[in-house]
Amino acid sequence: MNYETVIGLEVHAQLLTRSKMFCSCSTDYVNAPPNTHVCPICLGMPGTLPVINKKAVEYTIMTALALECTIPEYTKFDRKNYFYPDMMKNYQISQYDAPIGKGGCLAINSNGHQKKINITRVHLEEDVAKLLHRGEYSLVDVNRSGIPLMETVSEPEISSAEEARDYLIKLRTILRYLGVSTGNMEDGSFRCDANISIRPAGSKELLSKVEVKNMNSFKAVYQALKYESKRQRKVLEEGGTLVQETRGWMDEKEVTVSQRSKEYADDYRYFPEPDLPPLFFDRAWIEEIKARLPELPEARKERLMAQYGLPLYDASILTSSRAMADYFENCLKLTSPDKAKIISNWLLGDFSRLLNATDSDIENTRISPGLLVELLNLVDKGTISGPTAKAVFEKMFYTGKKASDIVAKGKLSQLSDATELNGIVKQVLANNAKAVADYKAGKQQALTFLTGQIMKATRGTANPAVVREILVHELGGG
């Protein structure tokens, strides 16, 4: 039988507020010694009360608006009750039936086609503490307890591991554009759980739903969902039955393993948090937040294409991070719009290559937009050749020095003087009699070889146009 895969994603993102969700402790805990960013409130001590972090609510509203959610008249918090030593109060303050955002959507581009994934809800809750297992015993680090955690839940409308990955990347890009979360999966500030099931193609009914946890990277999400949709098909093909359960992804073994079966639903005994009155939204505040939302990736992509005539490919990659797109447009502020494609080529080419090679971000680069534009101006004026520019760029990347300084110091100015080049060309031709003969016998590649030899002899500074002119003349081709 032909099956189709149905996936819903729950994404938890820690918000970049300065203080925790319900107390004034710092959220900057990642490098802090255990249990140093704690207070009676986030320790859940008797008699303490939560106070809502307004910034966290604002960030969640921003996200909800960016995902085209409706912001209801009011929102409220609820207690989600269950016992676990990572939870200081043994209930989590979360949101049950009145989330901050409802009914949004996110457009993804998968395999070249556009698809809209509906968003069920965006809500706010508190993170739990971290347990460090030490074999015989476990330690509790409460620093993470109470960090604002925003949960985005998609409808079960994602139909492949590829789409799931694209959805996550897109969602993360939006959160980063908004500046509400780092979106880093590696350090746990961006986490994803998936519900995955299969059903006969075209059917509406869902078979047993499997919740997959412990996916700590985009790659893990992709692999785990790929694995799981294959596994479920295999179970059915072999005549087995699927059970509703939670499975954990094992990164090293590249398999999912059953953690617990969920024959009956968890009963979290949700009820309205009596310590926090409902929040009635001031519409003017929502409008004000809406008005200062930054341009989002989708809109920016369209604009870059329209404004600078960039191809879809370039615009997509440039807008995949706000920092990259900002960098691109900051360069254009310093030069003319017709340089857009050249700048894009640099960003997508050498710049990205070096960033990847050094595992660094464009935010921290030593090459400011001004420095890059200066380099391009040197190429433009003919001061340096294209190949030289690449070498200069690499030096700039590592040192942060000005292109003109590197050029002056390394005597890298472009050699365009015909008399001087003539001598070098003659020398090269004399040293490469075979290539000259080949060319004369009709082998066009020989010309490329000879040009390369000339470039080598001039350390790449020879003006390619002048060299070509002299070569053709010397070889009697034109």
């Binding site: 009676p40 009360l49 009750n81 200081m88 476990s138 009963d267 009820f271 009596p274």
Partner: protein
């Protein structure tokens, strides 16, 4: 007995201001009184004598410098459910027997800025669950008027201490009558303020939507003075309300002209002691003599559901509030277990008393999937209805008067094995918590040597009217001046 311990706050204040006594003398007198009668009354879980004398010295220093606030240098007993920095806060539970909070409740901070002297912590029903203080994990408190009787609860320790002159005043908490019912049983004054009037920060939660801190004092003037000190918005408590705090003392007037007082018929319940009923009738007559217009036609028909609503809402909230006691972070911890789950289970099995466990189970059940709508949600709807009935009653009345309890204090052990009978002793007080309105209990007579409490209920954030009526009644009667022989 040194007579100093019998003073009210305002009497002590006058003497302190005139420098006729010092806070140290007053504090010593109170500590001596505690030493004298505590083995009979058992009102205190912890007495912090040395700390209190140090605070008294500091208060004397301020007073000498001409810096005197109404509560400066006056000793107070704190119900052991309110967090006090550096002083263990047990909630009269084995679970928190050795718990010393590293923070003060907002109310304690306010008392400290007034240079109050903290004597120690008052006994109570475990986690404020109970109506007799017999559910204390440590020992029951005895009624100073008759040591064979309960002082009421859950603030039985604080009420008995004030009645027995072991403290000049006390701070209690009220979730379903826990200030008013013991105040009534012990013949003292107790006020449950409007929900949101006094910060709950640092009050160990029982039922968050019902809990409120309030004064237990010897007369209406003291009540006004304490309210002046503790009322007000607190940014640490999102349920506290930013509503102006009047000077309550300025409302204490001797006549009740122009006030309309309603008598809701549903509060003169079946099973009400005849002595209580007749005492109330006499008290109401007195209110009329003082100039109030009495309206006998007030009806609050949904009152009969209040008990049911209360026993769904309060245990539900408690089941979550008390979940944090798992032996991992603080308090009692049963280590003899094979797993985390087992350790949590055993900690809660041995750390909590029967009544607490009963309510946790009630609440857990009421919130469970499939029951939530029928219990919790329904209870919230009825709660709204009860609130609305009060609003309607207050459209034509400035205050309502009822007995605080249908009976006077009962014997120790009498209702311990019958939770339902115990719950019924709060039938007149808990609708007020359900509605979130303020109510005060004032002494209004005796039956067989045991005090009767009259409850006056008011509009939200209108404590001043209650204090006005209480003060006028007090001026015309002598009940509040009676002292038990211990």
């Amino acid at each position: 007995m040194n007579k100093l311990c019998q003073l009210t706050i305002h009497e002590a204040h006058e003497l302190l201001k005139r420098r006729e006594i010092s806070s140290v003398e007053l504090t010593k007198a109170t500590l001596e009184r505690i030493a004298e009668v505590e083995d009979k009354i058992h009102a205190c879980v912890t007495v912090t004598g040395d700390m209190a004398l140090k605070q008294a010295e500091e208060a004397d220093g301020c007073i000498r410098n001409g810096n005197i606030t109404p509560l400066a240098g006056v000793p107070v007993l704190i119900k052991d459910v309110i967090c006090t920095k550096g002083i263990r806060t047990t909630c009269s539970s084995k679970m928190l027997e050795n718990f010393v909070p590293p923070y003060d409740a907002t109310v304690i901070g306010k008392l400290k800025t007034q240079k109050a002297v903290i004597l120690g912590k008052g006994n109570m029903d475990e986690f404020a669950m109970g109506s007799s203080t017999e559910h204390s994990a440590f020992f029951p408190t005895h009624n100073p008027w008759n040591l064979g009787y309960v002082p009421g609860g859950s603030s039985g320790g604080p009420a008995a201490a004030v009645a027995g002159d072991e403290a000049i005043y006390a701070i209690g908490s009220d979730t379903g009558g826990s200030i008013r019912q013991p105040a009534g049983f012990c013949g003292v004054v107790g006020l449950k303020p409007t929900y949101g009037r006094v910060s709950r920060f640092g009050l160990v939660a029982f039922a968050s939507s019902l809990d409120q801190i309030g004064p237990i004092v010897k007369d209406a003037t003291d009540c006004a003075l304490v309210m002046n000190a503790i009322a007000g918005y607190d940014s640490m408590d999102s349920t506290s309300v930013d509503y102006p705090v009047p000077n309550y003392v300025s409302y204490l007037k001797g006549d009740l002209k122009g006030l309309r007082i309603g008598i809701p018929r549903e509060y003169f319940v079946e099973g009400m002691q005849s002595g209580v009923k007749s005492a109330l009738e006499i008290a109401i007559k007195k209110l009329k003599e003082l100039g109030a217009e009495i309206d006998w036609e007030v009806s609050l028909p949904s009152t009969k559901y209040a008990l049911a609503v209360y026993y769904i809402v309060a245990p539900s909230e408690a089941s979550a509030n008390l979940a944090r006691y798992d032996g991992v972070k603080y308090g009692f911890s049963e280590q003899d277990a094979g797993s985390v789950i087992e350790a949590t289970e055993k900690t809660r099995q041995f750390g909590f008393g029967t009544e607490v466990k009963r309510r946790i189970m009630l609440g857990t059940y009421a919130l469970s999937a499939g029951y939530y709508d029928a219990y919790y949600l329904k209870a919230q709807k009825v709660r709204t209805l009860i609130k609305q009935e009060y609003e309607q009653a207050f459209e034509k009345c400035d205050a309502l008067v009822t007995p605080t309890s249908p009976t006077v204090a009962f014997k120790l052990g009498e209702k311990l094995e019958d939770p339902m009978q115990m719950y019924l002793s709060d039938v007149c007080t808990l609708p007020i918590n359900i509605a979130g309105i303020p109510a005060i209990s004032v002494p209004a007579g005796f039956v067989d040597g045991l005090p009767i409490g009259m409850q006056i209920m008011g509009k939200p954030f209108n404590e001043e009217t209650l204090l006005h009526i209480a003060f006028a009644y007090e001026q015309a009667t002598e009940w509040h001046k009676s002292k038990p022989e211990i």
